[in-house]
Amino acid sequence: MRLLTHNMLSSNIKGVEKGFPLRIEAEKVVEKPVEMNADFLKKMFEKVEWKAFVEASRSMGYSNLPEEVDPAMLESDEFLSRFHHALLELHLEEGALVCPETGRRFPVNKGIPNMLLHEDEV
């Protein structure tokens, strides 16, 4: 699971009000190089919840993202490549995503987050 996916997911258990962001429990993180696509990054920049993204990247062991951002930064190659690395090159292979409200763990195995809810959660 890459941080792009993490930034989109939430714990949608019945009754949970604030299921985002899911806390990352990282057991195994791998890096895989991906070709950079600036247009794609610019579009995703508008969608990403930055605070959650910075926090998530930190829990994956990457702390080179600025706390505060503005769109002007997209002009900087240095910024783009960091954003790219954190968004698409860091993978959570094994671990879990934890609901901030209930503590329910959504396991991540072989890079796939299991977001299916239990019977008593829908």
Partner: protein
Amino acid sequence: MWFLCVFYHRLLDYRKPEVESLAHLFGAFQDQQNGDVPSQLQWKLPLHHHSDSPFHFVNLPSEQVARSIANRSILVKGMYELWGEGSSYEELKDSVLSYPDERKLPYLEAGSTFKITVDSFGKVMSLDEQKELIQGLSYIPFKGQVKLKNPDHNFWLIEIDNYGGNNGLPPIIQRRIFFGREVGGADRKLIPTYQLKSRTYLGPTAMDAEMAFLMANQALAASGKLVYDPFTGTGSILVGAAHFGAMTMGADIDIRVVRDGRGPNCNVWSNFKQYGLPMPVGLLRADNNRPPWRSGLKEIFDAIICDPPYGVRAGGRKSGGRKLLKGAVEPYVVPDDKRTDHIPSTAPYSLVECVHDLLDLAAKMLVMQGRLVFFYPVLRDDDCAETHFPDHPCFKLISSSEQILSSRYSRVLLTMVKVGAYTEEIALAARLKHLEFRENHVKWLQDGNLHSAVFSPIDSQLPEAGDSKFIKDPKPKYRGKYV
């Protein structure tokens, strides 16, 4: 600028929508500002041809656009600048001679290389006959060198005859001869390269390569775009989109299918690796009835393409057991020590509800002008009743292409464009509907059963030879799958 567009004689309903979609992708409508109404191309038919003919004329803004469309298409055999046509070789000659020299001479120059190919539809021509026809073109002042491999210019002499429609072509075409310069044509090598036979990880409902590419074209998949399949299975639809450079993301309710596959080198990831394609940017296990997206997130996907789980072939499931959704039992509380490995029970997912969820997801998550491309099953005996396709206030249906699966069932590929924003009212209506579905789950299930056999394996439904139902078949046999 008009071009002769010759199609492969397959999937007839899919041909024009593919060209229309690619015309959008390559900017053919850039100068037209029609507001929300998607623009359409102008089409014409050659003399005596009917709309199922492989031959069409299409008006495109430039040769560059025509080439881009043809080269990316799956169903365009060739796009040609027409130099002349006629019902006889005499008429053809007059027609070519009267085509303006300034259009012809640049392609006939000394120092260039060229090739003439004779293509006949409806009859087999010997090499000698072909040679004779080529020699008959001596009235065209070719100054270049003949070169059979990769010439600068490819010319085509295409003859089509009236031959009663007994080998798969529509019956009423009359003899017509075309001469033209090739502008581009489909790369059909893609299909053997990607054919399912060579795919390492296959499932019973994997989408065949040709259709996956057609879906990706309908979705305008391209570099820099994000394409999502909520019923991704083995990922075969996303493979098509990834081939055209899109970033892909997929979800499936079945953890074995989406995560485990058949081992470390035989799973959804390996289906991309096999072709040197970039991996999906995300794969997850999720129920499209209870999407896992955070509430503020919207307008992130450029396209959603899928083959939803209709009926028995790969029956849909959704979270919550059957009895539970009926409200008959209290939810089973999973003991804490069992939680991690617990496999939640799932309830059958009806057609109506599945489509409702899909449209709601797409209305929220697609960018404006984004496309939703999905299959919808229809019963073919429904001929009297106009087929009613799903609709939604945020979407405009721009094409519906039928593929006949058996004498009774078809599936229709629907392409919808998002033309309206996902408003609070629409969101609220969708939430109410979601609850209503839970109430009426069993009733819906029964209604949904109408279509339940549609996606059972194609072969088992092919009629036996001489099956009387098949002879009464109201639709012509050369369509769709029977081509």
